[in-house]
Every structure is written in C-alpha cells, then in structure tokens.
Amino acid sequence: MAECNVDELLAKAQQDEAEKLRSITVHKELDLEFDVGNLLAIDNNRIETRDFKGQNKEEFLRSLARDNTQLLINEIWKLPTERVEEVIVAKLPEPTTLLPREKRPPKAKPATKWEQFAKLKGIQKKKKTNLVWDENAKEWRRRWGYKRVKDDTKEWLIEVPENADPNEDQFAKRVTAKKERVAKNELNRLRNIARSQKGKVPGVGLTPTAQQSKDDLGRAVTVAKTSTASMGRFQDRLPKEKPAKNMGKKRKFEPLIGDFSNERQKQLELLKVLGNKTPKLDITKAVNKQMREEDREEAAAKYRKGAGKKGRKGNNMSGKGKGKGGKGKGVKGKGGKPGGGGGGGGGGKKRSKAGKH
C-alpha cells in the first residue's frame, strides 16, 4: 500500500514539474546560438513562408519573437546572481561575438632617452608622496604646485653670492634661469617625440636657439625655401628679397608607362654596367676633367707667382681665394683623387656662390 502511495506520489510530482516547465519550454528543431554577454540570440531555424502568409503576419512574428525571447531569458536565468543594494543582478560573461574595433589598437610608446638610461642602469622610479611637512608653516603642503613647500618665487630676500656682480639683479636672474630650464625641458620633450616618430630632427643650425645670427637665419630660410618639389622656384619672396641664384637641379622622373624602347635601352645599359668588372670610361668626361685640372694647376702657379711679386694681390682675389678654398675643401673631402678633384671643384663652386649672398 505504502509502495503504491510512493509511486503515485512520485508520478504526481513528475507531472507537476512537467506542467511547470511547460510554460517556459519551447520546442525548436535547431537549438539557438546564444551570446549572453551581448544579450543576443540567433535562431537558425528555417521559417516556412506558408506559415507566414497564412496567419496574420504580425501575430506570426510576435509568436516567433516570444519563443526566441523565452529561450534567451532561460539562458540568462541560468547565470549566477548576486544581490547588489536590494536588487538581484545576474553576472554576465564576456561577449563572444567578434565585432570590429573602433580604432586601431594603441601602439607601445618607445622609451624616452631618460627611460632608456634608467633601464640600462637599473634605476627604479621612487614614488613620492604628494604632501610634505612644512616646518615653517607647521602644516602639510604640496610638493609642487600652488602653495608648495619650497617656493623660490615667493622669497623676498636673496643673498648676493660672493663672486657675483653687486649690481646684478638676482631676482631677474632666477626668473631667466627658470625660463631657460623650462625651454630646455620642452626641447628635450620634443626631441623625444621626434625620435619616437622617427621624424627627421632638423640640423643644429636650424633648430631655434636663443641667439641666432644673420647667417643662421639666412641658412634656415634657404633650406626651408628649397625644400619643395620644384626646388623653391615658385615660393613667394619678400618685397626686397633678391631671387636665389643657385636653385639646384630638380629631379626629373620618366613617366611610368612611356617610351618602352627607351626604358628597355636604359635597363640593358644598366645591366651591362653592373655586369662589367672593370669600370666604364667615359672618354669625354675624362678628357674634360684632365683639361680642367691642368687649367687649375696653371692658375695656381700664376697666382703664387703673382702673390710673390705683388703682396696685395691676395686681397683683390679674395673672392677667387674663397673659391679656391672651397675647391680645396672639396678636394680634401673627396680624398684628393683627380676624379674627386673635379667633383670637389663643382661643389666648391657652389659653396663660394652661397658665401657671396
């Protein structure tokens, strides 16, 4: 008897459970794909157009939506919950759908000069406290900033050091020293940025320094002007500025798909030159160089003779002397070879003209 009762009870309990679950179970042919992190459900079951057209469209869509939402809610209710300020909250997992990013991932910044040095030496950063005890004011003051502990600018008395000029303004000296330190810091910061971006930092003469001479400025202007695609020919000039004499040659590029025979010719010549073990000799160039060299030697000999006779000739020939100096520089620079001498002569000529500006 008891057994029958137990069996009956069990059967009844099962039935009850089934009934309870019936209200939330949904029958689908294919299971849905869930991405609970995004509160997303994807239903891949085929939708029969017959059903769609037969019933009222909205009703069909609504029942479909209800089923799918029920399944999604079932999934969400399986998550672990916790109570946060009288509200029951379910903890969501990470979203699984891969979606494209908004921007590129950030690049690691290259180390600054100091950071490299610190890494090399093993220097660690020491974390400093924000507040420091100030004995004079008997309270905690900031380490830097408004109302800081050691504020140089607020001092009303500065002792004149022994070896300093008594008429010098020590307060102004402090102010200028600070300005210089700030400017130096800024320069270093910009240099770090330029180095990290691998940008070309302009040469020493072109970065702004405190005192720039007329030559420096002139040089900076010419460099800036000629750094265009047409070598500065179309740059605006100031009203009384004279046009620059030596512009430099603008590189001319052949069109990409132009003269095929010309291109073929050039490529074959290039191959020939590469293939040769002995250097090709351009007779006209060599002869011209030799002639120029001979001319120069004659002129040098004459000049020495002339300088010996009339001492003042050196002054008159100052321009040419400069030119010679330039040529000499050029020769030295290229190792003094006769081929180098010709090239140096050309370079020297350019330099002398720049000097004349």
Binding site: N44, T69, R101, E102
Partner: protein, 303 residues
C-alpha cells in the same frame, strides 16, 4: 599633432584621453543624419532610432547633401570631429524611396555600408502602451537562416548588433530586461520589431515571457551594399595582445575532464622519511648500538 601640443587644462586632457585609441574601447557612438531630400517616414524613423539609442547617438537637424556611396569623405570628416564610428543616413528620392544607409567606420575610414529601403513602417508615437525607459540594454534576436548563410546578411547582422547593443556591462539587473529587438530575415525582406517583455509568474524560477509590441517596427528590403575587403575586415577585428586571456601554465585536462597539474620536487631520500612515530617500536639505546655494531661487521665482512 599628438604629443607636440600638450593640453593645458585637465578637462581637455581627459577629453583627448577618451578619444585616444585604447585597449578596451568606449561604446560606439552613432551619428544619425538626413540627406538632401527626406520624406516624413524617413525623418520619423531616424528620430525613433535616435530615441532607441539615446545617450550614445547624435541626431543632426540639418540636411547634408552628400551621397555616402559615391563619396565617403564627408562621413569620415564628421566621424573624426565627433568621434562616432557608426552612422545612419536617411534619404528619399524617386529612384530609392525611403532609403536608410547603416554604416560603420574603422580608424575613421568607412568599413561597411548597407543600404536598406523602408517598405512599411510604424512609429513610436503610434504605440499605445508604455515604452521602455531610454538607455536600457536591449536583447537582440535574429531569426531566419539567411543570417547565417548569405554573406551580405552576415555582415548586416554584425552591423546591426554593433549598432543596437548598448555598452558592455559585467552584470545586468534581472528585472530590467525589458526591451527586445527582433530581426527576421524572410523572402529577401528583413522585419524589425521592437517589443516590451513582461515577466510573468511561472511555476519555477524562470519567468514566462509575454511580449507587447512597442516602438518602431520596420519592414526593410536590402538594396546596395559596400562591404569592406576581407583583409581590412580582418585588420579591424585584430585584438591587442594584452586583452588575450593569460594562459595558466602547468594545468592540463584529460579526456574525462580531470584537471592535472605538475608538482616539481627535489629528489628525496626515502630512508630518512619522517613517518608516524610509534613509540613502542622505537629502538632503545643499547639495542641501537648493537645494531650499529652488526651493520659495521657486515660491511667489513663484505669488503
């Protein structure tokens, strides 16, 4: 000129930091704009979608005479200025009536653009019942096998998820799961319906869902698309290394799911092992010496 010009105020510094590329990104903002000519359907739809996406969307009032499919530079310019990587462009002309272009950008360049035409439409204001408060994270459901098979539909699904999912949260209030957006792809058309879900008592813990239709309901048809090339798409999905979950070393699982780990020890002398002390078996002084003597004898004998 990043880095060269430093921000002078803390507010501007925070602003620049929020716009800088990060490991985990912000919520994507959307810009909703009108084209040269718009019909009432289109303008109302744009307003409704703006209200769906309220805090993370920008609605432009003026008309912008551009054609996103021909020239995407103005979109890119706007996105750079407002830091929005999603856009919705509505227009209306005779050739393409009631046109909506959903688009997204990667690194301020257009990634995908999909043009949809509105066939039938019901606005938020037509609905009688109560609407969901703005800013609720909606549940998204996509039905129809074409969302999984057709390439264009797959991209559209990804775009719609991107557009309508809210900010990524770690936990969600169970009573606050009210809004459901349901997209059905059927017969070349896409039906978008928005419902408010009511959690009814069921016998067990999980509630039974009843849906009440609210909000904009659109019947859309797919028109032109401009999808990103595969490698650009791949590049856009590249996650930075730091976000990858760190693999714990030394943990392995076998077929049955048992977790194994390895413990490395130094070689032990098992003769000197400390086992349980049994007082009775402990050797007395005299016996110990005799034992040692025996051992020594044996050793000598052998050697």
């Amino acid at each position: 000129m990043d880095g060269v010009v430093k921000p002078k105020t803390r507010q501007s510094k925070r602003f620049l930091e929020s716009r800088a590329p990060k490991l985990t990104e912000n919520v994507k903002n959307a810009m909703i704009m009108k084209g040269g000519n718009t019909s009432q359907v289109v303008s109302q739809t744009l307003k409704n979608i703006y209200s769906l996406k309220k805090p993370t969307a920008l609605l432009y009032k003026k008309k912008n005479i551009t054609r996103p499919f021909e020239d995407s530079t103005s979109m890119e310019f706007f996105s750079k200025k407002t830091d929005c990587s999603l856009f919705l462009f509505g227009s209306h002309n005779k050739k393409r009536p009631n046109n909506l272009i959903f688009g997204r950008l990667f690194d301020f360049h257009v990634l995908d653009m999909i043009e949809l035409g509105i066939e039938k439409y019901m606005s938020l204001s037509d609905v009688k019942g109560k609407t969901c408060p703005e800013g609720t994270k909606p549940m998204l459901v996509f039905a129809g096998d074409s969302f999984n098979t057709d390439n264009e539909y797959k991209r559209l699904k990804s775009l719609l998820i991107d557009f309508f999912r809210g900010p990524t949260v770690s936990a969600v209030r169970l009573a606050g799961l009210e809004h459901v957006l349901h997209f059905t792809a059927l017969d070349g058309k896409i039906y978008m319906r928005s419902y408010r879900c009511l959690l009814k008592m069921s016998g067990c813990r999980t509630p039974r869902i009843e849906l009440e239709e609210i909000g904009p309901s659109l019947d859309l048809v797919l028109r032109r698309t401009h999808l990103a090339s595969d490698d650009l798409y791949k590049l856009a999905h590249k996650q930075p290394k730091a976000l990858k979950p760190k693999k714990k070393k030394n943990i392995s699982h076998d077929v049955f799911g048992t977790k194994f780990g390895r413990v490395h020890m130094q070689p032990q002398d098992l003769t000197k092992l400390q086992t349980r002390k049994m007082k009775g078996l402990r050797k007395r002084k005299g016996e110990a010496m005799a034992d040692e003597g025996k051992k020594a004898k044996i050793v000598n004998g052998q050697s």
